[in-house]
Point group: C2
Chain length 205, copies 2
């Protein structure tokens, strides 16, 4: 029996660098990560392949998928729809692959509702205290910046509530290492390993 993979959801405030961190993560080939392929109603661009870059679907088909609860979440940007197909995610998890989803905060909250067993990682801007000392050392003119950072911090605090882990994006390679540590640790949780032992013992009897 193959052990079911993890659904890993990386999210965070816009501009925090989610896309950059995701790209860097996929360069670590020793990890069994699969990127979640989205469904979209937009037209393929030159060089894009259906089932690799996106699942390209008509607007009617997309509406049907919404109606039949076939999407973990979806959103509209300008005139086009984008969504995460449950069937694809499920197929990968069943094969034992960890599925990685990089997504806006609102979308992450939708995924959380239908997939609470997912691993929710909040990507946060560099640490507050580090920022404070940096700003204070720059002189008094930056006091406004401190205040702005504090206001943002209050918003981040509210947003991170629904997540399992918070990773600071101070440097991309450090953020990646932290995320990979989280994934490693999750696979070592007692209940997962116990399950592995149990299936092995059953198979051998």
């Amino acid at each position: 029996m193959v052990e079911r993979g993890l659904l890993i959801v990386l999210s965070g405030p816009s501009g925090v660098g989610k896309g950059t961190v995701r790209k860097a993560l996929f360069e670590h080939e020793q990890y069994n990560l699969t990127y979640s392929i989205s469904v979209t109603t937009r037209n393929p661009r030159e060089g894009e392949t259906d089932g690799i870059d996106y699942f390209f679907r008509s607007r009617e088909e997309f509406q049907r998928m919404i109606a039949q609860n076939e999407l973990l979440e979806y959103a509209q940007y300008v005139d086009n729809f984008y969504g995460t197909p449950i069937a694809y995610v499920e197929a990968q998890l069943s094969k034992g692959k960890d599925v990685f989803l990089e997504i806006e905060v609102q979308g992450a909250m939708k995924v959380k509702k239908s997939f609470p067993e997912g691993l929710f990682i909040f990507l946060a801007p560099p640490s507050l205290s580090e920022l404070k000392s940096r700003i204070v050392n720059r002189g008094t003119e930056a006091l406004d910046a401190v205040e702005n950072r504090m206001a943002a911090a209050r918003e981040e605090l509210e947003m991170m509530e629904a997540y399992d882990y918070v990773v600071e994006n101070d440097e991309v390679h450090l953020a990646c290492q932290r995320i990979l540590s989280i994934i490693t640790a999750e696979h070592l949780k007692k209940d997962r390993v116990k399950h592995r032992y149990e299936s092995y013992l059953e198979e051998s009897e």
Copy 2:
């Protein structure tokens, strides 16, 4: 305000290599790990220093510590007592240091009772399935070994129940990397980071 450290308890069946893994872990100096110093009634050996290698105490003093609940756990080996002093562990945690305790399964279960918020890591022998294929490839004479391994696996399954994580000791450096990943991940858990944000916001107001 300093963030409180973690109490990390590494345990597992005897002979699994706890001591070797612990020594290798302490060579990773970038981690903020402090080894828990034990109290003992045995005499100091040449070169051993009180408060560094052990806290050397009289048998009467040790009995007093037991009576006043000053030990997280203790055990007797031959004629001597060994124990983990709560005061030392608490002092390190308050300073923000992660305290590392390598201990037998029975002792770990005692620590779990008085310190349930600790991080309990079970060190397990190399993976069952790997062992199986290795043994099967060696030929039929090893069938007994498979059976023995299965019996041991059943015991390990029961032992690991009270732990948070299970780490295979297939290779010492891999076991170390896994333990360091667990420690990293624990520090990134939402509640810990939230607490960090909150104390910073309070301090700055």
